[in-house]
């Protein structure tokens, strides 16, 4: 499998160096990120936690090419993001990055299948049917393909969103609070899927979450506070993660 090769190399697929991000100017300026250096190896599941305003979302947005740092560099594979114009950055997001959002963000006018295939449609590419079949089987929505989002439960919608993020076999999937709008059963389903994507498909997943239970599914736990990484370790149980969060306040 083509993913095997990237899994073997321990080299980071996404790498950030000395990232800072400042919002506003003068006295009202806020530093959302201060000198963050971090790498994410391929075929690993990383969770980023931190209280509100800790900078975790900003970090993810910059890593995904949705925002630009005030200083520092981001590299995805062999590409330096800072050197890309808006057009190239858009193409990069389309071809090499997958997104999962808290609010699912499916297009209400498209059915489940069309939503899953949307990144390929945007790129004007034909889907790999075999991969698509495998995906929908894995996320368990084979019998829901012709339904529109309004006809699906929240859990089903997020599973469609996971399939959408994986359909183009991106280098990395960024998940922003993927379980924030789900009940515990649906949350577990989605987290299992992400875990499976890493284990079975050798995907790389970076997840931002508030939820210690969600973080316990990852291989690695990063904690951010006040724009800096305060903790970086292999994953821990959800209770330990909770304690960790409490300690930062």
């Amino acid at each position: 499998m083509e993913y095997a090769s990237s899994a073997n190399t321990a080299q980071a697929i996404v790498e950030a160096e000395s990232l800072s991000r400042r919002y506003g100017e003068g006295e009202a300026a806020v530093d959302a990120l201060s000198d963050v250096t971090v790498g994410f190896p391929a075929s690993r599941f990383a969770a980023i936690m931190g209280p509100s305003g800790s900078g975790k979302s900003t970090l993810m947005h910059i890593l995904a090419g949705l925002d630009r740092p005030s200083s520092g560099t981001v590299r995805l594979g062999d590409v330096e993001l800072g050197g890309l114009d808006d057009k190239r950055l858009t193409d990069l997001r389309r071809d090499r990055i997958g997104f999962i959002f808290q609010t699912f963000n499916l297009l209400p006018v498209l059915n489940a299948e069309e939503n899953i295939l949307l990144p390929l449609s945007i790129a004007g590419r034909k889907p790999d049917r075999e991969w698509f079949e495998r995906l929908i089987e894995t996320v368990g929505i084979t019998d829901r393909l012709s339904h529109r989002p309004a006809e699906l439960s929240g859990g089903q919608q997020q599973r469609v969103a996971v399939a959408r993020a994986l359909v183009s076999r991106p280098d990395v999937v960024f998940a922003d609070e993927p379980t924030g709008n789900l009940d515990s059963k649906a949350s577990n389903d989605v987290l299992e899927l992400l875990r499976g994507a890493v284990d079975d498909f050798n995907q790389t997943v970076v997840m931002v979450t508030h939820d210690a239970h969600a973080a316990s599914f990852a291989d690695r736990l990063l904690v951010l506070a006040d724009g800096r990484i305060t903790h970086d370790s292999p994953s821990v149980s959800s209770d330990e993660a909770l304690d960790l969060m409490k300690s930062i306040g």
């Binding site: 949705l66 808006d86 997001r93 071809d95 990055i97 963000n105 297009l107 006018v109 449609s121 945007i122």
Partner: protein, 859 residues
């Protein structure tokens, strides 16, 4: 609450501006129309006042059958002038001439522009003279002429130069001896004046020994009114006698009456634009009210009453209305000269001295703009009051539908029918503009509410169906096309009402183009079916008011190769027992049938027509039917010269769009009893063996030399010319309807911007997962094109159906040929699509510019 309205307003500047423009354009056309027509009225009033300056009393032909036409000979004779002169209290009296003619340079080029008239006038004694020389002097010899300053400047006519003045006699060349100007300095617009000596003027206009009017000055101590009474007593009823002031007033009011057509014509387009604007305001309000559900719910939770919510929304409507109306009024002041230029472009250069802004214009424009806007916002204001306070806490709470409107199935159609009837009554009774617009606005509003409601219903499939069919045009482009199509189907009601605004304009254009195509092909068919001659001689300033001298027929008859010339003329008269004027055709009974094929209902060309004499008449079938006239009966006809003639009906013709009008009489009777002094057309047939290549140039040479105001036309040329005339009227109507289409574009822009606002997060997601800005723009453009084409297709269908209904119902049996200009209709759809693209520019750019992160965070 008032502050809330203002704040909200300032936060939505773009939307407010777009919506205000939607109403402002209609108001602008309305204000512009009033300003233009008031200006023209005032200009003419000034001209007439100056013209009657030295006159205590004016004698003019009476208008027994309404306003006098150019084709009639004046009843004022030398004897009448002599009688006036011998009336006690008259200090001085003089006969004058003022009749339309044609001025040309020696190369036969017209000196007046477009359709503007040239007037032939005669020098009168100084106290009556309205013209004064700017250069040179007034003519004193028969071969001298003075020409007005504007014409002289326009065509660079110099003193000493030769020009041709043609009226109803053979044309002559005159030496320009003076350049004149109207005493009070007013401009005549595009019209020109050529001043000749009295006897020469009388000869040229074909009225030797007659005058168009007599100017009378009172002796000291005699009042105008006394003098008028004295003169009235000695003159016959064929003339009117007025004081100078009365005459100026009479002329002004005549003109205003004529001009009221222009005003109504333009106002119709303003009403249409206002109706379209009302649609847009309604739609914008209903979209924004839905978007602001939360805001209203919060206000309700904080204790605002339903009444206060309603006041907020109505307050917004009022503010918007004031803004739009004021904007429109100012735009109207700028538009009035533009309208004037537009008419100039189409050949009508009307005098307009200064800009007349009457209080009425301001009041009516502001009032209508405001009332229409507030009315259009009313349904949304009512809807806003039904927002439940709980909506502030929960997402996706729907505003409960109102019972009354959805319950009664037939209530709305019946209401609409009543409003339609009321509207027809209002128009028929010439009720005020305000009343008409407000009734129409209420009707449109109910229709719009209904449309949105129906479109919300589950069984409403028209918009999705059309969107799918039209969507084929864009879906092949991939996902952007598919999404564009789906987005138009998302809220069919919104798409429908947005499209409906465009539908109005497109439907009218389609209707008019189909109708005009029918008229053109009917004329074509009539000419080719009825005209059996070789040439038609007509005035080169082609219009119904301009005839040709009676001498043309005799002169052309002498051209080698010409076998026969038969003159043909129109007159008016009133059949006793009827209330309106009948149009008469005057023919040469012995020759007419040889150039014109007549379909007879009773009679024949060989017997009936050739034996037509001054005591008999042929009646058109439609006229005979509606006035219960049968063959053998004798009818009395009142002529413009106040005579009454008795005519025995000898035949009935089935003519519909042809030349023959209500009654057909002999040319000699028209001369003797109807005061006819010129012909409308001459029909020429060639001798056997004569070829057009030889004869037409010979005829043209003759006309050039003696009657330069006339020209010859083969039937093909004649048909083409008629088509061109119709096309130029069509072009003017299209230009004016374009305004409504432009208004509806603002509606599309507005709806798109509001829809994009609702879909901010979706757009954010799409951009995040790699949709390029170009693709976003493309998607919005396609959505706009589909919406515009839905409006276009509806418009086309409605216009076409209306034109067919008119053809098969009111015009059935009239010989009207229904013709569908497929090419024009396709072009119309293409224009709708282009309009959609144009409307999408701004929204598409806005959507593409959205910041991805902000968009994702939007709620």
């Amino acid at each position: 609450m008032a502050r809330l309205v203002l704040r909200g307003f300032l936060q939505r500047k773009l939307r407010v501006a777009l919506t205000a423009i939607a109403i402002a354009l209609g108001v602008a056309l309305m204000a512009g129309t009033y300003i233009l027509t008031d200006t023209i009225n005032q200009s003419f009033a000034g001209i007439f006042k100056t013209a009657a300056k030295g006159d205590s009393v004016v004698v003019s032909p009476s208008e027994a059958l309404g306003s006098r036409t150019q084709t009639e000979t004046s009843p004022i004779t030398e004897q009448m002038l002599a009688r006036v002169r011998s009336t006690p209290g008259v200090a001085q009296a003089a006969g004058g001439i003022f009749t339309e003619g044609t001025f040309l340079d020696t190369k036969r080029k017209r000196l007046t522009s477009g359709h503007s008239p040239g007037f032939i006038s005669a020098v009168v004694p100084p106290r009556f003279e309205s013209f004064k020389p700017v250069k040179g002097h007034l003519p004193s010899q028969a071969n001298e002429v003075a020409i007005d300053e504007a014409t002289a400047e326009r065509k660079d006519v110099k003193i000493g130069q030769q020009i041709i003045v043609a009226g109803r006699a053979a044309a002559r060349q005159y030496t320009v001896v003076g350049v004149i100007k109207f005493a009070s300095g007013e401009s005549f617009g595009g019209a020109g004046v050529a001043l000749l000596t009295l006897s020469e003027a009388q000869r040229v206009v074909g009225e030797p020994g007659r005058f168009d009017q007599i100017d009378v000055a009172a002796a000291p101590g005699v009042s105008d009114e006394q003098l008028r009474a004295h003169i009235r007593a000695v003159l016959p009823r064929t003339v009117d006698v007025r004081t100078g002031t009365q005459q100026a007033e009479k002329n002004t009011s005549n003109l205003e009456e004529n001009l009221s057509f222009l005003r109504t014509f333009l106002l119709v387009f303003a009403y249409i634009a206002l109706v379209v604007g009302a649609f847009i305001i309604f739609n914008t309000f209903s979209i924004t009210i839905a978007q602001r559900t939360r805001e209203f719910a919060l206000l309700r939770m904080l204790g605002a009453s339903r009444r206060q919510i309603m006041q907020t929304v109505i307050g917004e409507g009022l503010l918007l209305g004031v803004l739009g109306a004021v904007l429109g009024l100012f735009a109207g002041i700028g538009l009035a000269p533009a309208l004037d230029q537009l008419f100039k472009l189409f050949g009508a250069d009307i005098p307009d001295n200064g800009t007349v802004l009457e209080t009425r214009t301001i009041v009516v424009s502001l009032a209508i703009g405001i009332v229409v806007t507030v009315l259009a916002g009313l349904p949304s204001a009512l809807r806003a009051t039904r927002v439940p306070p709980i909506a502030a806490m929960r997402e996706g709470v729907e505003i409960p539908p109102r019972q009354a409107l959805t319950r009664g199935r037939y209530a709305v159609p019946i209401l609409m029918a009543l409003i339609a009837i009321r509207l027809i009554v209002a128009i028929a009774n010439h009720e005020g503009t305000g009343t008409i617009v407000i009734i129409a606005a209420i009707g449109v509003l109910i229709a719009a509410v209904r449309l949105r409601q129906r479109a919300r219903g589950r069984n409403y499939r028209v918009v999705p169906f059309l969107a799918r069919v039209i969507g084929v045009l864009v879906t092949w482009r991939g996902i952007t096309g598919v999404l564009a199509r789906e987005n138009t189907i998302r809220q069919p009601g919104r798409t429908m009402v947005t499209a409906a605004a465009l539908t109005i304009g497109i439907a009218l254009v389609a209707f008019i183009s189909v109708f005009a195509a029918g008229v053109k092909s009917t004329i074509n068919q009539t000419v080719s079916r009825s005209f059996a001659g070789n040439l038609i001689v007509e005035n080169s300033q082609n219009s119904e008011e301009h005839g040709i001298p009676t001498g043309v027929a005799q002169a052309v008859a002498k051209v080698p190769g010409v076998a026969r010339v038969t003159p043909f003329a129109f007159a008016i008269g009133r059949v006793k027992g009827t209330s309106s004027n009948a149009v008469l055709t005057a023919v040469e009974p012995s020759t007419f049938a040889s150039v014109y094929r007549i379909e007879w209902a009773s009679g024949s060309s060989e017997t009936t027509l050739s034996s037509l004499n001054d005591g008999t008449v042929v009646v058109k079938k439609a006229f005979a039917k509606s006035n219960h006239i049968a063959v053998g009966q004798t009818i009395s006809v009142l002529t413009p010269t106040t005579k009454t003639v008795s005519l025995r009906v000898v035949g009935i013709v089935k003519e519909s769009f042809g030349l023959l009008q209500d009654l057909t009489i002999t040319r000699t009777l028209a001369d003797s009893s109807f005061g006819l002094r010129e012909d409308a057309l001459d029909f020429v047939s060639y001798a056997p063996g004569a070829s057009n290549a030889q004869v037409q140039p010979a005829v043209d040479r003759l006309l050039d030399a003696q009657f330069p105001q006339a020209r010859s036309r083969t039937s093909d040329q004649f048909r083409k010319e008629k088509s061109e005339q119709i096309n130029s009227v069509l072009a003017l109507i299209y230009v004016l309807l374009a305004l409504s289409v432009i208004v509806s574009l603002f509606g599309i822009v507005n709806t798109l911007i509001l829809s994009i606002y609702e879909r901010t997060r979706e757009l954010g997601m799409m951009r995040a997962i790699g949709t390029s800005r170009r693709q976003v723009r493309q998607m919005i453009r396609y959505e706009s094109v589909i919406t515009a084409l839905i409006g276009g297709v509806f418009g086309l269908v409605i216009g076409l159906v209306a034109a067919i209904i008119v053809a098969v119902w009111p015009l059935s049996g009239s010989g009207y040929l229904l013709t569908i200009p497929v090419g024009t209709l396709i072009v119309l759809l293409v224009i709708a699509a282009i309009a959609g693209l144009l409307a999408a520019q701004l929204p598409a750019r806005r959507a593409a510019k959205l910041n991805v992160l902000d968009a994702l965070a939007a709620d």
